[in-house]
Amino acid sequence: MPDKKVTIQATRFDPDHDEKPRLQSYEIPFSDESMVVLDALNYIKSHVDGSLSYRWSCRMGICGSCGMMVNGTPKLTCNAFLREYWPRPVVVEPLNNFPLIRDLVIDMDDFMHKLKSIKPWIIRKQEIPLGSGEHRQTNDQIDEFRQFSECINCMLCYAACPVYGLNNEFLGPAATALARRYNLDSRDQGLTQRLPVIADTEGVWECSFVGECSVVCPKGVDPAKAIQQTKLDTTMRFVLPFGNRE
């Protein structure tokens, strides 16, 4: 099919000129079955309309830049295949629940602050010197936190989270998962420093078990599980004054 076409409807919004976002339609060649939504955006930018703005880089599902709403679902556009939508038009919009900067570009400053707030680094009462080598850690101990360390900060979970949509004070799925990643690391002793942030009233207790975050995660992270585990951890610390973990 040499003349196969696909219609892309992309959000356009320039705060310098527009009052509100609108959809713009582009019909472009669907020249290869391997094409993804990101390829379509790149075709538009290179050949049709250079003013379309969006973020992307690795196009292999690991840098986390290219998350957008594709036909209403949060997706990494680099692995959303056009063939799965064609011949219907593909509607590409900025991720839900974030302030819009321009076109398909969202403002994720809020997440960057939240990430820092959960102290996503190894905290120890006493550092061991470099000269004494590595901490011993088994692959089983890594498996305890491995999935939570796979978060690529793509923001799809925030776009899917109904609680975050209503109240952006909520710490949210990815930040909670990353706090969990450190709390479960056998090298870390920072749980008590992180608890005030993650057990705050705007923290894990806000989650209403919807679980959409885990469904949309492109990396198989289960933030909903992290949130439930954190609730349990926090409860245990109230019930048992000395806690079961340090």
């Binding site: 050949h47 969006y54 992307w56 901490h135 690529i152 990353l178 870390d188």
Partner: protein, 570 residues
């Protein structure tokens, strides 16, 4: 005009840049560090590195063998003093990463595990499954958040280095979100902007790898060294160029031609799939030309076969490869061979810098892929680059902090004028320009096709000369470029134009450096000069920017300490 001022300013937020920022602060806690990146740091291309980071950690390993493997791998173009320092620091840095939380895969006793890798004579590649770069980048980025001395300028695009009296005093950066030009001044500047793979059409590199730091330094008067040395990785997925890690072969995968034959027995019989990248990529192209490749809709390819490893090993050690196969090719690598072909992957060349990252411009340092400190020579061994980012990022951070402690402060007077000039240059060239009928995307695609054709795995004088002429034509067309986006807010057409400007610059440095090296060494394979010529070319190519398309080329000595050049066979 207001401007931020730092002791140390790092340009680039990948592994080398963040490691440099932390090293500067740890060297002197009073140092104020700025970090400017055109993307959020965790988007940096380090994230795509898969296989691992080399360090002589295993009990049966030694600094000497790591050094020798690296030097032989470089086809003797590496500076041996630099290599010797590198192999001693790499294990320290890997342990440092462990202390910061990197989830290195482990041996049963809980120590850091190593895997075999191409060109390495023993197992020395530390890994975090097959997402090593991802885990290392997120580890250093998240760790960097604990240092209040580090201030980030995310999504700011550096357009020019501020150089006053041969001293670098900061940068001019376009804040992408607001469209505002800022002078960010500093007593010292570290370039850590990564590679330039996007000058090629078929590359593993992300969209952001456009050689910015190389072009910035080049235009400021620093030199680009060994730019003809471009690495082609043997195993990229056709069409997308997505990297299939060398760890697939390290773990025992086979490369098969269309006869089902492990054809590497004709090229690297002693190492087979664990031969170095330059030789394996040439072997694949040679096999393609002999009709022994598979034909697909996106060109010729080979099979990379891991079926014999079994699901358990694949899921434990190569889970991301299985995911990439499933999501991007529609295959399960447990039951299907992976289609692969050589793909541009890494730049050995870069900003000419010494062992501490210092360039001849006072206060200007470079580290990581954008630098050429002399580690990789003609061909980098797989898994040396992540370690390079750590070792030389840290070295540059310490050196820059040390220099900044005694450097005189930057004054507003010349900076204001330089900022004004640069903002007007960019605005006149792009934002306020009327007319023009050339599309950025079209020029970029033509440049990429030309580079694939003329400066690929094999080169000739004719092909490179044609490429040079065509790059000249593209440069002329670039002057007539049309910018459709008139917005100040997140104008990615302007950043694309700035990137293309930089890419045309570094593409010509590659081309002319390759034309002048009339021998074959490492990744630079000339069909018209198939032999290595140590008499004439055991030298670094050093390219200086001129006002013409062609650089001014000089040559500098390679430092030889303990390893005399010998024939490079595997």
């Amino acid at each position: 005009m207001e401007f931020e001022s730092y002791d140390v300013l790092v340009v680039g937020g990948g592994l080398a840049g963040i490691r440099a920022a932390i090293a500067a602060v740890e060297a002197n806690p009073r140092v104020r560090v700025g970090m400017v990146s055109k993307v959020y740091p965790m988007r940096s291309h380090t994230v795509s590195a898969e296989g691992g980071a080399a360090a002589a950690l295993a009990p049966d390993d030694s600094y000497e063998t790591h050094a020798f493997d690296t030097i032989k791998g470089s086809d003797y173009l590496a500076d041996q003093d630099v290599v010797e320092a590198f192999v001693r620091e790499a294990p320290v840095e890997v342990i440092q990463m462990e202390h910061w939380g990197c989830p290195w895969s482990r041996n049963p006793d809980g120590t850091i595990a190593v895997r075999p890798f191409g060109g390495m004579t023993t197992w020395r590649t530390c890994y975090a499954a097959d997402k090593t770069g991802f885990h290392m980048l997120h580890t250093v980025f998240q760790t960097s958040l604990k240092y209040p001395q580090i201030t980030r300028h995310d999504e700011a695009f550096v357009t020019k280095l501020l150089v006053e009296d041969s001293r670098c005093v900061g940068v001019v950066a376009l804040d992408i979100r607001s469209g505002r030009f800022d002078a960010i001044t500093a007593k010292s500047v570290i370039l850590a902007t990564g590679g330039l793979g996007r000058v090629y059409a078929f590359t593993t590199n992300g969209n952001i790898c456009t050689g910015d730091g190389m072009a910035l330094a080049y235009r400021a008067g620093a030199a680009l060294k060994d730019m003809e040395m471009v690495q082609f990785h043997p195993t990229g997925l056709p069409f997308t160029g997505i990297l299939i890690t060398e760890a697939v072969r390290g773990e025992g995968g086979y490369l098969l031609n269309n006869q089902g034959e492990r054809f590497l027995k004709r090229y690297v019989p002693n190492k087979m799939e664990l031969g170095p990248r330059d030789i394996i990529s040439r072997a694949m192209v040679t096999e393609f030309e002999a009709g022994r490749g598979f034909d697909g809709p996106h060109g010729k390819y080979m099979h990379l076969d891991v079926r014999h490893l079994g699901e358990a090993v694949i899921d434990r050690k190569l889970p991301f490869m299985r995911e990439l196969g499933r999501e991007f090719v529609g295959i399960d690598i447990v039951t299907d061979p992976i289609p692969v072909r050589p793909v541009q992957h890494y730049m050995m060349g870069g900003v000419d810098a010494d062992i501490s990252g210092a360039t001849p411009i006072l206060g200007l340092y470079a580290a990581g892929e954008c630098a050429n400190v002399g580690l990789n020579g003609g061909n980098r061994l797989g898994s040396n680059s992540l370690s390079e980012c750590l070792v030389f990022g840290a070295a540059a951070g310490r050196a820059a902090a040390h220099y900044a402690a005694s450097a005189r402060p930057v004054t507003a007077n010349p900076v204001d004028a330089m900022l004004w000039d640069e903002a007007h240059r960019v605005e006149a060239a792009y934002l306020e320009k009327k007319g023009g009928d050339e599309r950025i995307g079209v020029i970029r695609e033509e440049m990429q096709k030309e580079m694939d054709a003329g400066a690929g795995v094999f080169r000739t004088r004719d092909g490179l000369s044609r490429l040079a002429r065509n790059l000249g034509g593209l440069r002329e067309r670039f002057e007539k470029v049309k910018i459709e986006d008139s917005s100040r807010t997140f104008n990615t057409e302007i950043t694309a134009a700035l990137e293309l400007d930089f890419m045309l610059e570094v593409a010509s440095a590659i081309t002319f450096s390759a034309l002048a090296r009339e021998e074959s060494r490492g990744a630079h394979a000339r069909l018209d000069f198939p032999e290595r010529d140590d008499k004439k070319f055991l030298k670094h190519t050093v390219a200086f920017h001129t006002n013409a398309l062609a650089p001014r080329l000089e040559y500098s000595e390679v430092t030889i300490t303990n390893f005399q050049p010998q024939a490079r066979t595997y």
